[in-house]
């Protein structure tokens, strides 16, 4: 509930690029105390919330080569401050694309204006980019809206204070369309014996809305609780959504009572739904690595990758990162599928396969030479996991399906909904023996 006392944007060495003080209570140059505090820890042990001996709390995030830091003197909600800082970075990204020391230096007046608009007396105010761009214009935004500043301001005011603050009236499109992208990320951790330690699906429904007026949308999913509430059985597989979260536009009380997803969408891109399913899933890919030390200076890897999804699906851009000793050199690779690269900076080799069909298995052989002087961390690679990245279009691991999307508007136009499914890797790791 308590606000931020001051905000700093610091460079990598802790020098101030931008600062705004909202309360008089803070000592001058408090950022120097923060810098000293920061030096007490290394990059692994540095916690994002620190407190000094006078009771001031420093909450900070890092972005590129910058540190966004706030000082609080009272017991504030940490997560609120974090979300403000992330929002600030997001807004700055929308303005300058690359948020780094140089862009902050070049545009520091705009940053000042933004901070003034986003925080009042340390209390977060307007943080939506769509609204902010109406108030604060850089050269790229200025040209379009200069003609009628008063009118746009009025729209903005209506936006901020209305109950539907996410959509303004009077939007018009020639062709009314909605694009739904169902993206599922699979977080999986597979143990040394091939057992699944953790499997978790993080899903989201991204919407690109190009609809006129103030339409009312109704979305039907294969939600098990919905079918149960209706007292009927679904033809296809129903999914149990326990942890489902919605954009603010969805009428939550209606969902809670009737399990119906009804909303007036914001214009443009937004995330409508996010969900987490903690269900047991068979690994989509399994990788076996056989390591053979041919001699003291030679090590051979035999990598076998297998896909376990249906044959009709195909995974694109599959990359398998297998850790190797940090002092390995002179790599020799042999494989019939894809290509292999040695990445010394990651201490791994990357086996890329453009298209990996379902129920297929591929082999790869790699030989590395090792120097006679043994590196102290030579065996470290065995404690690192194998990482896999992939993308499977037209497929969801959970079986998530959009049953319908009804679009209603007063004007009664016809609109086209488009749905696309995709499964990607989240943190997909296999522990080596």
């Amino acid at each position: 509930m308590f606000g931020i006392s001051s905000i700093y944007i610091l460079d990598q060495k802790g020098r101030v690029l931008i600062t705004r003080q909202y309360r008089n209570e803070l000592p001058v140059n408090i950022h120097e105390t923060f810098n000293k505090k920061l030096l007490e820890f290394d990059e692994y042990t540095q916690k994002p919330v620190m407190i000094d001996k006078d009771g001031y709390t420093y909450i900070f995030i890092r972005h590129n080569n910058l540190i966004f830091m706030t000082v609080c003197s009272q017991n504030a909600n940490c997560l609120m401050i974090f979300s403000f800082l992330f929002r600030l970075v997001q807004v700055l990204q929308e303005y300058f694309v690359n948020v780094e020391e140089e862009s902050i230096r070049d545009n520091f007046v705009v940053v000042y204006e933004l901070l003034d608009e986003m925080l009042d007396n340390g209390y977060p105010q307007t943080t939506e980019f769509k609204i902010l761009k109406e108030f604060i214009k850089t050269e790229s935004f200025q040209l379009k809206d200069k003609k009628q500043p008063e009118q746009t301001n009025f729209n903005v005011v209506a936006l901020v204070s209305n109950k539907i603050s996410w959509r303004k009236e009077g939007i018009k499109y020639k062709k009314n369309e909605v694009f739904l992208d169902v993206i599922e990320k699979l977080n999986m951790l597979i143990g040394q014996q091939g057992n699944v330690i953790k499997s978790e699906i993080i899903g989201q429904v991204q919407v690109k809305c190009m609809l006129s007026g103030m339409p009312e949308l109704k979305l039907g999913l294969n939600d098990k609780a919905f079918f149960e509430a209706q007292g009927r059985q679904s033809k296809s597989r129903a999914v149990e959504f326990d942890d489902i979260k919605f954009h603010q536009c969805v009428r939550l009380s209606k969902f809670e009572n009737e399990r119906v997803i009804q909303f007036t969408p914001p214009d443009g891109d937004f995330e409508l739904i996010s969900y987490r399913l903690d269900i047991r899933v068979k690994p989509l890919f399994s990788v076996d690595v056989l390591i053979e030390r041919k001699s003291a200076t030679k090590i051979e890897f035999l990598v076998k990758a297998k896909s376990n999804f249906k044959p009709k699906s195909t995974a694109n851009n599959v990359e398998i990162f297998v850790p190797v000793p940090d002092d390995a050199e002179q790599p020799q690779f042999r494989t019939a599928h894809g290509s292999v690269n040695y990445m010394p900076e990651k201490e791994a080799m990357c086996w890329s396969i453009k298209q990996f069909g379902g129920q297929r298995d591929f082999m790869m052989n790699a030989v590395f030479h090792l120097p006679t002087i043994v590196s102290p961390n030579r065996d470290k690679f065995q404690k690192m996991p194998i990482n896999i990245t992939f993308e499977i279009p037209y497929f969801t691991v959970s079986g998530f399906q959009v049953r319908y999307l009804k679009i209603q508007d007063k004007s009664g136009y016809n609109a086209l909904p488009w749905v696309r499914y995709i499964t990607q890797n989240g943190e997909y790791q296999i522990r080596m023996n």
Binding site: M1, V16, L17, I18, R20, Q21, R23, N24, V28, Y44, T45, K47, P48, V49, I61, N77, C78, L79, M80, F82, S83, V109, E113, D116, D120, N121, Q125, T127, K137, P149, E150, N153, V157, V160, S161, K163, L189, G191, I197, K198, S199, E200, D243, I244, K245, F246, Q248, V250, L252, S253, F255, S274, R276, D278, N377, K380, P385, E427, Q429, R431
Partner: protein, 656 residues
């Protein structure tokens, strides 16, 4: 040369930089006085730069104030921000010149309050309320009253905030009579303005009676706020519920129900605010839902993840039964930050039960082999902790720890030994674990743990004197290379062993160690040597004297065989462990007796028995002898066991 010198000196002392500075200032003056807006904006940019370098801007302020009445929106805004930043400087209120400048600035800003443009009006209000000028407060309230009924809700909301701001800056200047009417007016406004008005009242008076009237309205409005306002509203409701509700109140349940719907929003800060309310009025089903929601946020960035994990840690302590089903979500990933990994391990160890023991143990073991030493230390420590908690699984844990001990780095070995030492104190059968520690004593690089192992050995000296003697012999070989704390323990061990076992080779060993200690480089060790050697001299003199004199009563109080007893007095200078007060004489008798000699004696007795006529007494004697035989056999077996290889002791322990 003479002509050039002063110039050089001048440059060295900064003449050059001064001239650059002055040329900069000239340029700034030129730009700020220019007719063109672009030039002025550039000049203000330069002023911002100077402000960031903590330079005094008083000189330029009058020009900035002159720029305020201009029509250009951006220029006006930049000037206003600069003025409020200038006012925020620590000496702005104390310095008279700066204060005067600020008062000058107020006139054009007051004028802006009546402007048609909403933005200008808003900025003017924001700037005025942040100027921190005491004299202005009554004027500002008058101006606020004029715009409180502005048609624009955004302005009305800002009015509430500006009152709060003025109060935050100087609470003495703002009295309830000044703002009561304004706030009452704002309470009837839209949901956002109402929230701010309630917030202002709470912040200034610390009371939430006002919510009696607006409680249901606020709950109704919850779904319409943006995330930051929603958090504020929830905090107010939390405060209110703490002040006015008891568990089970109908009205409270309405709030809890509303919060349940809000758990569907994708904002972690809201969930944190709700968890505060839920933990204040705990209801099992709601907390179960809350935990599930919190677990979902484990996939966000590591900064926020840290807070989320701390929340989960709290839940794991208070409601482990609901978090147990999500333990898989807490599995550690390679890319995570160390503090997240450590917290996850802590939480996992709190969630262990008989169902998930295998999986969590596997995770702990995997992390115990990791590359990060801090992580290894915590993992091993938690392993021993969980073993103490679940003695059922002790064999499995010890086996795994042994695996780590064989393959781990020296740091890891230290941690494993430390956890073994920890385990020894809780176990009844201490010897097998002690044997493992002894086996690896050479590899322990951390002196604390090495000293602890020797200390533990000292505590068990009564049971395994032969093994202690052997270990002492090994330790004596590297005595001079040890740390003083370890030497100290070795010295005590040797002395204690010598006290209970006065065989020749033990005495020689003790003498050898004492000699090493006598000439040791460490003062601590030499000091201990002196104390110990003195006490032995005491013993000799006492014994000589006591041959003639009857033992004193005090002597009887001291335990027989203890060092104190031998010395005939308590040794206050030496911190003696508690074993000295225990009567271990029985155990010692069993071990000191050497079996073969006694067996011979019994054979002789048997021969004598055959020769003597049989009588009842003889029968009794033979019975006694047989009993003794049995005892001796047992003793023999025991001794053999002790002499056996340490590995076998371990095998016995694991394969029963």
């Amino acid at each position: 040369m003479l002509f050039e010198l002063p110039d050089k000196i001048g440059k060295a002392f900064g003449n050059g930089t001064l001239s650059i500075q002055s040329s900069k200032n000239n340029k700034l003056a030129e730009l700020i006085n220019s007719k063109y807006t672009e030039d002025i904006v550039e000049a203000i940019r330069m002023l911002y730069c100077q402000y960031l370098q903590n330079k005094d801007l008083t000189l330029y302020m009058s020009r900035i104030i002159n720029l305020l009445p201009r029509e250009d929106l951006e220029l006006k805004k930049l000037c206003q921000i600069l003025i409020s930043e200038f006012a925020a400087q620590p000496n702005a209120r104390t310095s008279k010149s700066q204060g005067d400048v600020l008062i000058l600035a107020t006139a054009p800003i007051f004028k802006d309050l009546t402007n048609q443009n909403t933005s200008i009006k808003l900025n003017a209000l924001k700037t005025l309320s942040s100027l921190r000028i005491q004299e202005l407060t009554p004027m500002l309230f008058t101006a606020i009253r004029k715009i409180q009924s502005d048609k624009n809700p955004l302005v009305r909301r800002s009015v509430a905030l500006s009152i709060l701001k003025m109060h935050d800056m100087c609470s003495d200047d703002v009295q309830p009579d000044d703002y009561n009417d304004i706030i009452n007016f704002l309470l009837k406004d839209t949901h956002q303005t109402r929230l701010y008005a309630i917030y202002v009242i709470f912040k200034i008076t610390g009371d939430l009676q006002i919510l009696h009237k607006y409680y249901f309205q606020l709950i109704k409005d919850l779904l319409n706020f943006n995330s930051f306002d929603l958090e504020r509203a929830l905090q107010l409701l939390y405060q209110y519920s703490v002040m006015y509700f008891k568990e089970g109140d109908k009205d409270l349940i309405k709030l809890l129900d509303a919060c349940e719907i809000l758990l569907r929003l994708p904002y972690p800060s809201i969930v944190l605010a709700i968890s505060k309310i839920y933990l204040q009025f705990p209801q099992e089903t709601r907390i179960k839902k809350l935990i599930r929601t919190v677990v979902k946020f484990l996939n966000i960035g590591s900064e926020s993840k840290f807070i989320i994990l701390q929340m989960l840690h709290q839940f794991a302590l208070s409601y482990p039964q609901y978090l147990k089903e999500h333990y898989r979500a807490l599995t550690i990933l390679q890319i995570e930050k160390l503090y997240c990994k450590l917290l996850k391990l802590e939480i996992l160890s709190l969630l262990i039960d008989e169902n998930n023991f295998n999986n969590i143990l596997e995770e702990l073991l995997y992390q115990a082999r990791s590359n990060q030493p801090q992580l290894v230390a915590v993992a091993v420590k938690l392993l021993s902790k969980t073993t103490i908690k679940f003695p059922k699984f002790i064999k499995r844990t010890i086996k795994s720890l042994l695996d780590i001990l064989k393959t781990g780095s020296s740091d890891t070995k230290n941690h494993v030994i430390a956890s073994f030492c920890n385990l020894i104190s809780t176990q009844e059968s201490k010897l097998p674990l002690l044997a493992i520690c002894l086996q690896n004593i050479e590899d322990i690089s951390d002196i604390r743990y090495k000293a602890t192992v020797i200390k533990l050995l000292r505590l068990e000296i009564g049971q395994i004197p032969t093994i202690v003697a052997e270990s002492l012999r090994k330790l004596s070989l590297t005595f001079s290379q040890q740390h003083e704390n370890v030497k100290y323990e070795i010295l005590l061990l040797s002395h204690q062993l010598q006290a209970i076992n006065q065989e020749q080779h033990i005495e020689l060993l003790n003498q050898y160690i004492m000699t090493l200690a006598k000439f040791d480089s460490s003062l601590l060790v030499r000091d201990l040597y002196r104390t110990l050697s003195k006490s032995i001299e005491f013993k000799e003199s006492f014994v000589q004297e006591e041959e003639n004199v009857a033992p004193s009563l005090e002597m009887q109080k001291l335990p027989i065989g203890s060092l104190s007893h031998l010395v005939g007095m308590h040794l206050p200078g030496l911190n003696l462990p508690s074993y000295l007060n225990e009567d271990t004489s029985d155990k010692r008798k069993v071990e000191i007796q050497v079996p073969p000699q006694k067996v011979e004696q019994s054979q002789q007795q048997q021969q004598q028995q055959q020769q003597q006529p049989k009588s009842q007494k003889q029968q009794q004697q033979t019975q006694q002898v047989e009993n003794k035989k049995e005892i001796l056999k047992r003793v023999e077996e025991d001794v053999k066991k002790h002499y056996q290889n340490l590995d076998q002791v371990l095998n016995d322990f694991f394969t029963d």
